[in-house]
């Protein structure tokens, strides 16, 4: 029983990290209808910039501030140079553009900051904690706490601020938002900047765990099944999806793994996502269109 609980809790906590990555996608998908393939590269870009600054001797707070500034500038540049010229194009065109963007972001990041693996020490020691006889990773617990704080901040932003309400309006019906004089370009800049910051937080947490390196941008591939399971349009869905994937992977590795010779983690999330595509294509909490007949 304690093995089961330990596996489950470990999986759930790891899942919050998946959720964090997925939230970055949901934000952009909701506001501009684009699956932003470049989210992983931006995440890598943020983490790499932070590590480089820190290695260059900049204090943590300063490095964080500069990285945040860089991400905001990046978001504005993306909106100006990529989204605005492509307004009203098909979602596929936009998707291809983000694919291109991901190569540019990776190229720039590695060109300036090198491609070797960098260790990132956030000062969180990963000591195991014991709850009765269940072992919990302290790092995972803190990471989950950070994720929870971020989600609370985002939900306040969306539901309590003027920007947030306009942003949900734009996400819901762009033409109507235009007709009311909402500045869509500014809203997009804000959304991309917020998604960049969410990417930074997840990049730092992932990076602290496995080092900051090129493969960090591949967390995109982990986010995809999370989004399919949770729903592309819902932040709550991203959280639930992340937890389901995390817990599922962890339990499957422990209990089914031995029968299949292990190595379940890389594909389990996709198999689960496939099942969801069959039975619930909008995802667990995805918004289905409200339509009057």
């Amino acid at each position: 029983m304690s093995l089961f609980l330990e596996t489950l809790i470990g999986g759930v906590l790891a899942g919050t990290l998946y959720a964090l990555v997925a939230i970055g996608f949901v934000l952009i998908y909701k506001a501009s209808g684009v699956f932003n393939y470049a989210q992983g590269s931006i995440l890598l870009f943020g983490a790499l910039a932070f590590v480089s600054l820190k290695d260059a001797g900049v204090p943590v707070a300063g490095a964080l501030a500069i990285t945040v500034g860089l991400l905001i500038v990046t978001a504005i540049a993306i909106e100006r140079l990529l989204l605005r010229p492509l307004t009203n194009r098909s979602p596929l065109t936009l998707f291809m553009a983000t694919l291109g963007l991901s190569y540019v972001a990776e190229g720039v990041a590695q060109g300036f900051m090198g491609s070797q693996v960098r260790a990132l020490d956030l000062g969180i020691e990963d000591l195991p904690m014991f709850l009765g006889d269940i072992m919990i990773s302290q790092f995972d617990l803190i990471a989950a706490g950070v994720a929870a704080l971020l989600v609370i901040a985002l939900s306040l932003l969306f539901n309590r601020t003027r920007i947030g309400i306009q942003l949900r309006g734009v996400a819901n019906d762009t033409l109507a938002a235009l007709s009311l004089g909402i500045d869509i370009n500014r809203i997009w800049q804000i959304v991309w900047a917020v998604a960049g910051l969410v990417g930074l937080v997840s990049g730092l947490l992932w990076g602290a765990r496995q080092g900051v390196q090129f493969s960090l941008s591949l967390v995109v591939l982990k986010a995809l099944p999370v989004l399919i399971i949770g729903g592309f349009t819902s932040i709550a869905g991203a959280i639930v999806g992340g937890v389901v994937v995390g817990a599922g992977e962890s339990l499957a590795e422990t209990y089914i793994g031995p029968f299949l010779g292990g190595g379940i983690t890389p594909w389990f999330a996709y198999a689960l996502a496939l099942v969801f595509l069959f039975i619930r294509p909008a995802g667990l909490l995805g918004e289905r269109q409200i339509e009057r007949v």
Binding site: N88, R168, G169, A177, S179, G181, E287
Partner: protein
């Protein structure tokens, strides 16, 4: 000029649309040659059958054609003397023109009140101003107050139309462009909505340009009407005259007594 205006000799410019031509996707000609004007304080009806170019005309005025891959190819539109071609939709809303889109387009996932609020932020109002604007709209549409925390997508068609109009009123417009407000609504609800529009016009001096397919309904409330067919203006004049002349009915519109066209 101002003195002439004060003396009532020259009407100050309000909305002037001159010989506009509009295309979709660079090839489909939607408007050939549409000219119209709205004076301050007027209700003008834009009538015509489906596909006549009513929506295109309104979107040309509010600069929303671009969002539908359309464009203005010729002619000029002036709002209070200023040419609008280079203005963004948000500039136009800030200058007092707001459009209520055909099919209402409420933000279905937002509550009724949040929908209204989205219209109110443009002028960066203080909290108190915003609350006052909201109260004003609730004054016009008391039913929205009762439904304020309902999700707009789950309200009735009439309520959604009220949300769409109320949301536009939150921008404090001088000219309201209404696109097919009666679409898909029960006659009694349509009458209620038209009555409110007429009162807004009378009591607040709001000018209105309404596009409507069912002409006899809107002519009761409009001062003047412009008849569009296949992207051209085919008739215009005071609504009473147009209605009396039988010309509208002959053209295709209106009630059950309209003769067929052949």
């Amino acid at each position: 000029m101002t003195r002439a205006v004060e003396a009532g000799l020259v009407r100050p410019p309000f909305l002037d649309v001159e010989a506009i031509e509009a295309v979709y996707g660079a090839s489909i000609l939607a408007l050939h040659d549409v000219s119209l004007s709205v004076a301050r304080g007027e209700i003008v009806a834009l009538v015509g059958p489906n596909g006549a170019g009513k929506t295109t005309t309104l979107r040309a005025i509010s600069n929303l054609l671009g969002a539908q891959r359309g464009a203005l190819r010729g002619g000029t539109i002036r709002w209070q003397g200023e040419e609008t071609r280079r203005l963004d939709p948000s500039d136009l809303v800030a200058r007092g023109i707001v459009q209520v889109l055909e099919g209402r387009h409420v933000f279905g996932q937002l509550t009724v009140e949040e929908n209204l609020l989205t219209g109110g932020y443009l002028r960066r109002p203080s909290r108190r101003q915003l609350a006052a604007d909201l109260d004003r709209v609730y004054g016009w549409f008391p039913r929205l107050k009762e439904r304020r925390s309902a999700r707009a997508g789950l309200t009735s068609g009439g309520e959604q139309q009220m949300v769409a109009i109320g949301r536009a009123l939150m921008t404090r417009p001088t000219l309201l462009l209404l696109d097919e407000p009666s679409m898909g609504l029960a006659p009694i609800i349509v009458a209620e909505i038209f009555a409110i529009i007429a009162r807004l016009n009378r009591e607040e001096g709001l000018s209105v340009l309404i596009a409507e397919q069912s002409a006899n309904l809107v002519l009761d409330h409009a001062d003047r009407a412009i008849v569009l067919e296949s992207g051209r203006v085919v008739a215009s004049g005071p609504s009473a005259e147009l209605a009396a002349s039988g010309r509208l009915a002959a053209l295709y519109l209106g009630g059950a007594d309209a003769p067929t066209r052949h």
